[in-house]
């Protein structure tokens, strides 16, 4: 398998991840969002596995495995049960409409392309492409967190942002500790999910943020 083909597949997978991030932004139903996120994690694990194969760095396989089983399967299923048990609001309210968010998303991707390509003339092509796409996934994840009102979709936004990071880490040739970091991150995410469950922030989070949560913000009472 010559170098070009490897690069094309990696590029394809990363591009796919960006596309799915866009689809994540598009979702307006909760369960649709969770399925899309599962897909997102699945493509991520594929991409990391492929990077492992390309750089023949065995430890990356572990990261891919973690991404696959934890993020693609366990967490979406957990969130789905959570949404059902705590009957969290099924409708996803966005700030400023989906169309505008998508537009903004495209602008973000363009920005990350410009920034990354402008910045990394020195590095080799594979790393540059990977980083640019990873940055756009991160920015899209961030955008999702910023434009969503309810808690679960914000958490999903954060996890997609984190997927972007794992992609960047895997893309960085021979970066040590990637495995440890992905483990650390997954612990973080686990906390997120437990947090929702423990703190019973059903929908008192941002959907009704003007009344419920405001009441508890500092110095308001």
């Amino acid at each position: 398998m010559d170098q070009r083909l490897i690069f094309d597949i990696a590029h394809l997978l990363a591009g796919g991840l960006v596309l799915i991030s866009f689809l994540l932004l598009y979702q307006d139903r909760m369960f649709g969002l969770l399925n899309m996120f599962a897909l997102h994690a699945f493509v991520l694990s594929l991409s990391v596995a492929w990077q492992a194969f390309a750089q023949d760095a065995p430890h990356l396989y572990i990261t891919a495995a973690i991404a696959l089983c934890l993020k693609a399967i366990v967490i979406p299923m957990l969130l789905r049960r959570l949404v059902v048990r705590l009957d969290i609001h099924r409708e996803i309210e966005t700030v400023g409409g989906i169309g505008l968010t998508m537009l903004f998303g495209i602008g973000l991707v363009a920005l990350s392309m410009v920034v990354m390509l402008h910045v990394t003339e020195g590095a080799d092509r594979l790393a540059r492409e990977d980083l640019a796409l990873a940055l756009s996934v991160v920015l899209l994840g961030f955008l999702m967190m910023v434009t969503r009102r309810n808690a679960v979709s914000q958490v999903v936004g954060f996890m997609s942002l984190e997927n972007g990071l794992i992609l960047a880490a895997a893309g960085a040739k021979g970066m040590p500790l990637v495995v440890e970091m992905s483990i650390a991150f997954s612990v973080l995410v686990a906390f997120l999910v437990i947090g929702i469950f423990l703190f019973r922030i059903r929908e008192r989070f941002d959907t009704v943020d003007m009344h419920a949560l405001d009441r508890f913000r500092g110095e308001r009472t």
Partner: protein, 482 residues
């Protein structure tokens, strides 16, 4: 892999880790609080031993001039806070605000936090430093939410979300830095070790370095509490238990700032990259002026001091942004003084809140009459934090303003305006709190005054006379910082 010798470096990590594990198993908060104080004391002794016998750093952990300052400071304030938290927690349980069930992991988490902070400080490997700070965030989130009140939960959740986003950005910055270091195939592990990166800094790819510094500045800046990313800080301080507020503003902000300094040194070493100065100066000034103005309308005493922390972090960021030996010296001195003063203030505020049963400043008054020691402690603390002469903070602010005036008079004017604004607000609030006719309840509290007044003694000493080797120590670190 690490030469496992029982030297100071290993000890300051082992003691908190082991004690955290031990405290996990023990029920009953009285025993654990005593153990907690003992463990912190041992860590302090280990850290002090580092002063004389400094082990040579490995790839993962190392001790150099920069982080020895923070290690000693952190362990000392950690020890005094643990002493304070012993009496604070026992009182909180008495009045029922905290049940032993909630406290089950409190002391374990405290020691875990100490472990993570020390890890982040001594980490030579940038990834390890990131993991340290990340887990420190997690533990403090759990501690902030310990009261289980709606406000505490909201504050914890906000802290968690903002913290993890910050951490994610910081991770992306670290990855970019790793790429900018253009590691040779065999030496990946060296490409993450800070001591190895420093000498090769000027070979890095400047543009990628800039991008990395942007992400790192925003990432770790969130943990430092600089202006645009400060959202979590006031509520976390106000809603969490006071020992945690003291730990947060005394230690955690310093650890994050230490990480930021590490990357600033890397950037400064590389000539072609953009100077990190202006960015940090801008962020510093914004947070200074923003926090100073926010002080005026605060109603909750701990939230007010949280904004004062943001303000001082702004001043410190400004100092390190200015660069140059004198400004860096002022910044380092200010960091030490700020963490000592702020934690002492939180000690007195903690007891005051317990005595008065509330944190609303409108319901607290006449402290110097009803509780002279606490009242005058608060007065001394606020005078110190506002930057009045006999204390250390004045010394560092004075050095900073003079050095800034010599180079950038316009910036110096903005700096002084910010300091004066904060000064006005603090004294205005202090007036109603400490003097005037007594208001609020008079619950009996056997407070531990030793930690508070030991801090004040140190600050006063630093304000009046800085021992020669301390100055020399700070100076060569300042040169290191360029």
């Amino acid at each position: 892999m690490i030469a496992f010798s029982l030297d100071g470096l290993a000890l300051i990590l082992l003691i908190p880790a082991v004690s955290a594990a031990v405290l996990l198993t023990l029920p009953g908060y009285v025993v654990t609080s005593k153990l907690n104080v003992l463990a912190s004391f041992l860590t302090l002794v280990a850290a002090l031993s580092l002063l004389w016998r400094r082990p040579e750093g490995g790839l993962l952990l190392h001790v150099d001039d920069l982080n020895i300052v923070f290690i000693v400071l952190n362990t000392f304030v950690g020890f005094t806070t643990s002493a304070f938290s012993a009496s604070y927690i026992s009182h909180e349980v008495e009045i029922g605000r905290l049940t032993p069930a909630y406290l089950r992991f409190y002391h374990a988490m405290y020691q875990a936090l100490m472990f993570e902070m020390n890890l982040a400080l001594v980490a030579n490997n940038l990834g390890l430093m990131w993991v340290g700070i990340e887990f420190a965030t997690l533990t403090t989130v759990l501690m902030v939410g310990i009261y289980r009140t709606p406000e505490a939960l909201e504050a914890a959740w906000k802290y968690f979300i903002l913290g993890s986003v910050g951490i994610a950005l910081a991770l992306f910055g670290t990855i970019l830095l790793y790429l900018a270091a253009k590691p040779l195939p065999g030496m990946e592990i060296e490409a993450m070790a800070w001591t190895k990166l420093m000498p090769r800094a000027d070979t890095f790819d400047p543009a990628l370095l800039n991008l990395a510094f942007v992400f790192l500045l925003l990432g770790y800046g969130t943990k430092v509490g600089l202006a645009p990313m400060h959202g979590w800080l006031p509520d976390a301080h106000a809603e969490g238990p006071t020992p945690i507020s003291a730990v947060l503003s005394g230690l955690l902000l310093n650890v994050a700032l230490h990480a930021l300094l590490r990357f600033k040194m890397l950037l400064a070493a590389n000539g072609k990259a953009i100077a990190p100065g202006p960015l940090m100066i801008a962020m510093g000034l914004i947070s200074l002026l923003f926090a100073a103005l926010m002080l005026y309308r605060r109603r909750d005493i701990k939230r007010m001091f949280a904004y004062s922390s943001i303000e001082h972090m702004g001043i410190i960021a400004f100092a390190f942004g200015m660069g140059g030996p004198l400004a860096n010296f002022a910044g380092l001195l200010h960091m030490t003084m700020h963490s000592l003063t702020k934690s002492a203030i939180f000690f007195s505020v903690g007891h005051i809140a317990q005595v008065k049963g509330t944190q609303k400043m409108t319901e607290i008054g006449g402290l110097t009459e009803t509780h002279p020691v606490l009242g005058w402690g608060l007065v001394v603390g606020v005078m110190a934090i506002a930057g009045l002469p006999p204390f250390g903070i004045f010394m560092s602010e004075f050095l900073l303003v003079t050095s800034t005036f010599a180079r950038q008079p316009m910036l110096a004017i903005l700096l002084v305006i910010g300091i004066i604004l904060a000064f006005g607000a603090l004294l205005q609030k202090l007036n109603t709190l400490a003097f005037g006719e007594p208001k609020g309840g008079l619950a009996p509290v056997e407070a531990s005054y030793v930690p508070m007044f030991s801090h004040f003694a140190l600050i006063l000493a630093a304000g009046v006379y800085l021992p020669a080797e301390l100055v020399a120590w700070f100076q060569n670190v300042a040169r290191l910082l360029k």
